[in-house]
């Protein structure tokens, strides 16, 4: 057991855990956050995605020790109903999620990618989102929402 300090959604936190414990369990259990979600524990789906210093990471495999001294942002920290991230606003407009459990992966990955490439083409977006899973099949709506957000960002 060791102590790890980092920032989550603007709040400084400290977690005592085994260094190899995935960040996901620190966020959900030690810090009591409802997001992100456990989907596979294998970095194969994206349901656990958060930003670590602005880059999307799969918190189900990232050791909590790797977050030490860094800034973690969850979907709740990305935007709020009052101050939404353009992607979140677009997701609501386009009514994207069905079960909604996959949402962290898509929104957090796209948010980081659009920062680098706000005018990404359809093909570039599809490549950037490769590896994420959505079992309800909302992929077409996801692309619609990202394009709507791009229009707002432009």
């Amino acid at each position: 057991m060791a102590s790890f300090r980092f920032t989550v959604d603007g709040k400084r936190v400290s977690v005592s855990a085994e260094p190899e414990m995935p960040l996901l369990y620190a966020l959900r259990n030690d810090l009591g956050l409802d997001n992100p979600h456990f989907g596979c524990g294998l970095a194969q789906c994206g349901a656990c995605t958060v930003h670590l210093d602005g880059e999307p990471v799969r918190s189900c495999v990232l050791p909590v020790s790797a977050a030490s001294g860094k800034t973690v942002t969850t979907i709740k920290g990305l935007g709020t109903p009052e101050k939404p991230h353009p992607l979140q606003a677009a997701y609501v407009e386009e009514q994207v999620p069905q079960c909604g459990y996959c949402i962290n992966g898509w929104v957090m990955t796209a948010a980081a990618y659009l920062k680098k490439n706000p005018k990404a083409s359809d093909a570039q977006l599809r490549d950037a989102l490769a590896g994420l899973k959505c079992r309800c099949g909302t992929h077409v709506a996801i692309l619609r929402a990202i394009k709507r957000a791009q229009a707002g960002l432009a």
Binding site: D34, Q44, V92, I103
Partner: protein, 751 residues
Amino acid sequence: MTTLTRREFLKSSGALVVSFSAPPITGALAQVAAGKPALVPTELDSWVAVLPDGRVQAFFGKMDMGQSLEVAIAQIVADELDVAFDKVEVLMGDTGTSCNQGGASGSTGVSNGGRPLRNAAAEARRLLLENGSKRLGVPAEQLRVEDGTILSQDGRKVAYSELVGGKYFHHQIEWNKQVGNAMDIKVQAKPKTSQEYRVVGKPFARRDVAWKVYGTDRFVTDVRLKGMLHARVIRPTRAACKVRSVDEASIKSIRGARVVREKDFVAVVAPREWDAVRAAQRLKVDWHALDGAFPAMDQLHEHIRGAKVVKREEPVKKGDLAAAFSAPGVRIVEAQYEWPFQSHASMGPGCAVAEAGADHCTVWTGSQKPHYVRDGVAKLLGMAPEKVRAIWVPGPGSYGRNDAGDAALDAAFLSKATGKPVRVQGMRSDGTAWDPKGPACVHRARAAIDATGKVLAYEFVSKGFSRQHIATNESDPADSLVGQATGIPAKGTQIFGVPAESYGFENKLLAWETIAPLVDNCSPLRTAHMRDPVGPEIHFGAEQFIDELAAAVGEDPVAFRLRYLTEARHAAVVKAAAEKAQWQARTSPQRERGGELLKGRGIAFAERNGTAVAAVAEVEVERNTGRVWARRVVVAHDCGLVINPQGLRYTIEGNVVQGISRAVYEQVQFDRDSVNSVDWASYPILEIQDAPAAIEVVLINRPEVAPSGAGEPTMRVVPAAVANAVFDATGVRLRKAPLNAERVKAALSRA
């Protein structure tokens, strides 16, 4: 107007607090005087309530899994009661607040589920008008209602809330004595006609989108109780295993972790989730395995063909098939189609939280049938059903009897065993390897064509594993893994299905045959309902065979279907899909089949419990990789009266993508001993690179026809539409699903 958030509801319903004796309904209704009538279908108060501030609550025994059913029910209730849509809140899937309407089941959310709500709302309006008439001293027929306020012609008014707000109707209604999907009530009021609808038929946004997007409310995975233990159930890596011994010392270095075992059910619990996960990984269990429980995977369909038939039914049989098939000069066309086992593979593994005491249990579940969870938990723990409350909280995906049903009973069992609240969540393999599967099957099709090109006789016989090795719900522990592992033998039902269409072939046989399960108890290849049970399986074959017949007589696939379809609504969706897709009439395959990128189009049609649907798929096939991309899919959909066109479109879109996924990518991998599809790498599904560029939906609205289902029908036409398009593009007929790149490439290289 303030709407009660789902969180407030959960809070008051006990989801976020420990106590079982939390107020039964909501903060607002808790203001109501004591004496709420019993929660039985014969009480109007079991269906609808008017709150002191004029808001309306509808108590719904089904639930919305993200396809906007909640919106549709609110629309129906708003119209019947004459209140604004925003004033209606639908409380779903809590056995403490709703009657057993069967949960999410068979796309009946609107068609069946909406019926009693509609009747109850109409009856409530009638009573309120009667009451208002007395209050205002004006005959009821001279009153009208505007957004929950009763108005007389001379301008006097009284609000619903003044009449009954926060109070109960105490009004008896007639119940049809059915439990589940068929539950309905009879009332004196006459519900409105479709011409009178103001809210039904208009697009309304869902109310479960924002919290999912902002992360501001909770999934079942987020329910936390004080003193709760985290649990993982240990499932063997091989099929048909029994526990020889468990080495509890193997996890003794993990603080607080311990083993719970009964017979072949083994679980670990720990106060911290990570400790439960580590304990599950480390626990040494000596399993006694049965060798060769399964056929080799490449022999699966041979096994099915050769297996003894346990049950056969012939739901459609007309004419004289033997005579027709042996008529002089007829040409026989035959084909067989094969479909693999498929996994629900929900986005997250099943999860449930249970708090069991000596004589009560509360379960928070993502199962789509919480009322049956209540019954199953009651039987498992030896309690009366009324001592158990199951509360549905949105879970990580559903689409049938998936692993959420097992998680609910696991959690209840473990809570009882440990005396603590217990949260169970599976690991990925529990959701992929150990969920109940969609059945593998083989379809034999045969037709006789006479000299004029007319189909004289037609046979379609499906043979496969029953679709219900376990029941479609978890009301009996015999249908759960914990039940079977602790010694309750599986019962199972032998049932399959036949194509749903109206092709008017004079001599026709539609039949099914089922075979025995590979392993009787605790099988990772046990079957249960998966979205549109046996729909995609059967129509993948049936609608390809229709195309094969069209090709055999040199006719365009759309024209051929229109020639034989006998129901006008069936023909209408085929025409509408073809028209929207700008279908060019010609025979398949197309003539230009050179080059690396082959392009084609295909159509498929089916009916499902009153809903007619046709899909046109336009595909691209890469010759050197075998990749199939359904670039554009057009769907024409007729489910009678459309309640919410927006929700309906999105539901159909999801069906299309999931349907492509099942047709092109999905198959459960296994060998003689084990299921080897344990994660997303070994059970690939469609990813975004392969999502269509366009999905276009034509909704045929028939206000004069009662609404039928939309959650599943599209699923059954997509696989054949894709396969027919691949044939059109390549000239190669692929009769085995999935049409993955490896298989397509091999087939093209052989051609």
